[in-house]
């Protein structure tokens, strides 16, 4: 009886790990899409309404979903309070708080950082270029993420379950 319960627990935990890994791949794709959507919304806030960043971030936060909702809200607040010196600084602080909920790879974050840096640009032309290039790169990253997901999502799920089974078989 105890043996069955033990093996059950082992399989459960390894499958859990497998599913968690697989979730990461799925979530990265979703978040990259969400990011494209919010950057689109941001571009109309900046280029069309010419709202200052803290209002732009606030409006975008109301339109998009977690974790970017919290990220943008946080940035909006620190810019409004004028408690930081650069926009990048507000981004790094907000990112630190949301790090656990963000399933983006380093290259995605690097792109996001460059984008945020570009927001301090002086004129609309600079902003247009920044938005265009970021959207293009995000599309590329999304494609890669999608491929990775197709390749790995199932693999990790199976791997989790099967490695659990393997351990159980070896032990028994």
């Amino acid at each position: 009886m105890l043996k069955i319960l033990g093996s059950f627990l082992i399989i459960l935990s390894t499958s859990g790990m497998g599913f968690l890994y697989a979730f990461g791949y799925k979530e990265r794709v979703r978040q990259l899409r969400e990011l494209q959507y919010s950057i689109n919304a941001l571009s109309s806030e900046i280029l069309y309404s010419s709202n200052p960043l803290w209002i732009a971030f606030l409006n975008v936060a109301n339109k998009c979903s977690s974790p970017f909702k919290e990220l943008f809200l946080n940035m909006s607040e620190s810019l409004k309070q004028k408690s930081i010196e650069t926009i990048s600084e507000s981004f790094e602080i907000a990112l630190k708080q949301q790090r656990d909920n963000i399933y983006l790879e380093n290259e995605d974050l690097e792109l996001l950082r460059t984008f945020i840096n570009g927001l301090s640009s002086n004129d609309c032309e600079g902003h247009k270029k920044n938005f265009n290039i970021t959207q293009k790169k995000l599309e590329g990253l999304e494609k890669i993420a999608e491929e990775n997901r197709n390749k790995n999502e199932r693999l990790y799920k199976y791997l989790g379950v099967l490695s659990g089974l393997l351990i159980v078989i070896l032990l028994v």
Binding site: I46, S50, N51, P52, L53, W54, T86, S120, N122, D123
Partner: protein, 319 residues
């Protein structure tokens, strides 16, 4: 002599001026004796030059312990000035692009920040301003009822078309703002019933709109068209808002004159301000010359700084 509510100015500094400054000058200002900062009219920042503050039109140097002296004190570097400017713009240069082109921005509370630096040209026109290393913070102070005498002067049965003239920094905009408030709310003493007032606030200085909401009291019957060019603004308001009075700040060009000419002849009363010292001086400016020669203004009021900002120097009636 103009007086203002010190407590109110103190709050203004705490919530509007200090947040846009860096510690290096914020602390000395806070340390000024008896909250002396409430008397400041201008704070002038220049890269690699000492910080200056102007009180009652006299310049002083600010020292790091909060003392104001005749000897240079705190000096700000280029990068510190850039930092201050970024914060003043709400970290968003693009949203201030049009303002920067004109050499000023308006921050929350309606304080106007004058800018100078290197101009980037495009076909002889100013494309933008870069290397902004000269910043002048002009603190806007609300002085209620300071224009009561002026309003009494221009009202008898009807309000007359009025031009307010003074050199920069003599309380022109303050008087105009209070006139707008009084005319809009009405003044019981002289049986003045409140009028519909429309304001073209090209530089966001009169109503000090921040994101569209007036930050200063401009009366209950006042509509504000914020940061709109005067010429377009006047004709837009004539068409759409059926005002009884139109108020504009700092007129001067021939185009301004044409727009005001239209308004005067459309049955709307016009109240405007212009830079200048006396009649001779303003008659040298083509736009104003046309208006005065065509009897567009019935009353011209000259202000000076003699007994503090807002001193009425002379009132000229033109029939």
């Amino acid at each position: 002599m103009v007086t203002y509510d010190k407590e109110k100015v103190k709050r203004t500094f705490e919530t509007e001026i200090f947040p846009v400054l860096i510690e290096k000058i914020k602390e000395p200002l806070k340390n000024m004796k008896n909250n002396g900062y409430v008397d400041i009219e201008e704070i002038r920042l220049r890269a690699d030059r000492p910080v200056m503050i102007y009180i009652k039109n006299k310049g002083y140097f600010l020292n790091s312990n909060g003392a104001i002296t005749d000897k240079p004190g705190i000096v700000l570097s280029k990068s510190e000035l850039e930092k201050i400017f970024l914060i003043m713009c709400d970290y968003s240069f693009y949203s201030m692009e049009e303002d920067i082109k004109q050499g000023f921005i308006t921050i929350k509370g309606g304080h106007r920040i004058g800018l100078a630096g290197r101009v980037v040209q495009d076909n002889g026109k100013i494309k933008t301003l870069k290397n902004i290393y000269f910043i002048n913070i002009r603190i806007a102070k609300e002085v209620k009822n300071c224009a009561l005498n002026v309003v009494k002067e221009i009202f008898s049965k009807e309000i007359s078309h009025t031009l307010i003239v003074s050199p920069p920094g003599c309380g022109k905009t303050t008087i105009l703002r209070d006139m707008i408030r009084l005319l809009s709310n009405g003044v019981e003493d002289i049986n003045l019933v409140g009028k519909k007032v429309a304001v073209v606030d090209e530089r966001s200085e009169i109503a000090s709109c921040y994101q569209g909401i007036p930050q200063r009291d401009v009366g209950i019957r006042t509509d504000v068209l914020d940061s709109c060019p005067k010429v377009e603004g006047i004709s837009l308001l004539l068409r759409s808002m059926s005002p009884e009075i139109i108020a504009v700040d700092e007129i001067g060009s021939i185009k301004d004159a044409e727009a005001i000419f239209d308004a005067v002849n459309a049955g709307v009363k016009v109240i405007a301000t212009a830079h200048g010292r006396d009649l001779d001086e303003i008659l040298k400016r083509p736009g104003i010359k046309i208006l005065i020669e065509n009897n567009c203004f019935e009353t011209v009021i000259f202000l000076s700084n003699k007994h503090g900002p807002g001193t009425i120097e002379n009132i000229l009636k033109i029939n």
